[in-house]
Symmetry: C2
Subunit: 380 residues, 2 copies
């Protein structure tokens, strides 16, 4: 590998001068710069990130902490899409990414240890379990952090707009004439609480009385568990006309159960997904779902993180809410109602350019803590 010293020898300038030439330093003659740059190019010079990092204490490495309950974070399409977009933007800005974990070399290392060990300039966190002490430790360190789909008030968060999205979905379903809307929601996370809250509020605003038997807990990304919930819903005396699922993948379990019950979609029952993953766009009938904008979520997370890293003085942590889009497929039947045919407008998708101007923070609250406690206790 050719080093600065090699260039220095070859062209007669000191290594200090060469370094400055390479980095666009101020006090150096333009001609010298050109000469050195030429020589460097001719010799095939490439900087050594490791040496640079040691001196400058900047690695241009971003840590990525994706923790999934099944530890297969990468196989989860929503996460992997966000990650992919994060990666693309990070690379565009000159950063590489490194996965943060606790398993390095078998020794007990906290996430923070790992970040220090690798010298990450910043970390993006997307985790199921934000209450993990190791995650908290990391968040409270002085490493710049951006979280996805979770709010810590010390750091920037990028949030998929679950509140508005569920509102849009419910409104969409309502406009199709549905009044008996069931909601199979995921396990207790801040995201789930937001969706549930929005579900209740929207129904309430639309004049729908939410029956508690229409609310079922399942596990995200687990078709079996939503299949089970579906079966329970289908067995109700007063069966819902439409079921909202925790995510697109889970819906496969629902479809199976519905077909097993001899019902057809959407003739006998309507279904709605969430996420808008690739799968949802190839199922037939096309799934009505909510597309989360993983592209923007990832890109914005990277952009914010780099901003925080490069402008530590002036950077202001913020909550960035990224809108989703209702994808009207073919799985929600248009019902014909007697009266009350008012169509409620649904959220106009915000233009991508606008999202930087939004800095909204929702109160997650614990309105649904009781609900989840009841579920855990099996009393719901």
């Amino acid at each position: 590998m050719v080093t600065i010293k090699d260039i220095s020898k070859k062209c007669g300038y000191s290594s200090a001068t060469v370094s400055k030439a390479l980095n666009g330093g101020a006090d150096i003659n333009q001609k010298t710069v050109e000469h050195i740059l030429n020589v460097a190019k001719g010799m095939g010079y490439f900087p050594n990130a490791v040496a640079r990092a040691l001196k400058t204490n900047r690695t241009y490495n971003l840590g990525v902490l994706f923790v999934d309950k099944t530890f297969s974070g990468l196989a989860h399409e929503y996460f992997s899409s966000v990650l992919n977009s994060f990666k693309v933007e990070a690379e565009r800005l000159g950063y590489d990414i490194t996965f943060i974990s606790r398993n390095i070399n078998r020794v007990g290392m906290s996430y923070l240890d790992h970040c220090h060990y690798r010298g990450c300039d910043g970390v993006v966190i997307a985790s199921i379990d934000f209450s993990d002490p190791d995650v908290v430790e990391l968040v409270q360190s002085n490493i710049p952090i951006v979280t996805i789909d979770h709010v810590f008030n010390e750091c920037t968060s990028i949030l998929s707009d679950n509140v508005q999205s569920v509102k849009d979905l419910v409104t969409h379903v309502y406009n199709k004439g549905h009044r008996k809307i069931a909601f199979i929601h995921g396990e207790d996370t801040s995201v789930t609480r937001k969706r549930l809250g929005s579900f209740h509020r929207t129904c309430s605003n639309l004049g729908i009385d939410v029956q508690s038997e229409y609310l079922r807990a399942a596990i995200y990304h687990d078709p079996k568990s939503s299949g089970l919930a579906t079966r329970e819903l289908l067995a109700l005396k007063n069966r819902p006309s439409c079921i909202l699922y925790p995510d697109d993948f889970s819906i496969l379990g629902g479809i199976t159960e519905i077909e097993r019950a001899g019902l057809s979609i959407p003739e006998d029952i309507s279904i709605v997904g969430y996420d808008g993953i690739h799968l949802s766009q190839v199922l037939r009938p096309r799934l009505t779902t909510l597309r989360q904008d993983t592209e923007i979520l990832g890109r914005e997370a990277a952009a914010q993180l780099v901003d925080a890293i490069e402008n530590p003085k002036s950077y202001i942590p913020q909550q960035i809410v990224v809108p989703g889009t209702v994808i009207a497929g073919e799985t929600v039947k248009q019902l014909i109602l007697a009266g009350n045919t008012h169509i409620f407008p649904i959220y106009a998708s915000i233009f991508k350019e606008d999202i930087n101007e939004k800095s909204i923070s929702y109160c997650v609250g614990s309105a649904f803590a009781g609900h989840f406690r009841r579920i855990r206790a099996g009393r719901d």
Copy 2:
């Protein structure tokens, strides 16, 4: 951050001694080691990977080069599963992983440049396009390389056993009584050629005359293109009784077309996938497919790469072939035939422990170059 120097000051030993104590150096008193270790622990010392890397020229970082035609490698479940398993094993062995790309900081950087820049100890490559000059440059460098699903004779490759797997699939279908077997294959890659070759040979061995109209080219992971191919196959005068698809995801396009044609699966036509991704296990009827063992592929890739890095003298590059497993679902109908009901045995899945002992190299050859040329020229 507490450094070796800090420890050195605190306990009175020189930094050389501290370093040796920390790394289990030879010429040092056991008591001293213990004392230093205690102090280090007490101070919350963690080594600095950057400094260490600068001195030792070992970063304990593995490069990952996953290039997809759509540049969304991570969203591809097969790749992301392999990667996840690779990551887990790499971390267990004390290595972190870094994505290699060409887009760092907008400057034109080759893959090799990027590896040198980051000082990767080794690189794993899974790419659609192994003929990319940048990929070739990387492979021919002196960085240890492991490739997945492609053979370069200089370096170790981990190969999903496409030849045996297709043989097993075809045999499985044959045993179910099918003789009119169509094969929708992916675009021209070494993997595709292996599968095609195995398809031909197996059919030939089973006494099936492969009709060229039963072979259709599509694009991997693209339901639209396999949907199109399906439509063509269904329109044939002599319709196949069973269709093999390039992958599980593509099959969604096939299902759509089959249903559109008013046919049902498997009553009217049988279908077979490939990959055994999560999706295939939740579709109903359950998909008959071939599960590629991404777990072993990834793990073995990491293990081999680390072996190559840590034992540069003694390491011998090899081809490791990882068997797949036929997953008999419900999408292949049992046909009742007049005579000829001999059941051929299918490959017994090799135990996981055995794979290290296999070091088989297939001759990929270019037997199908002509076939693909014809496809590209639209004359097939």
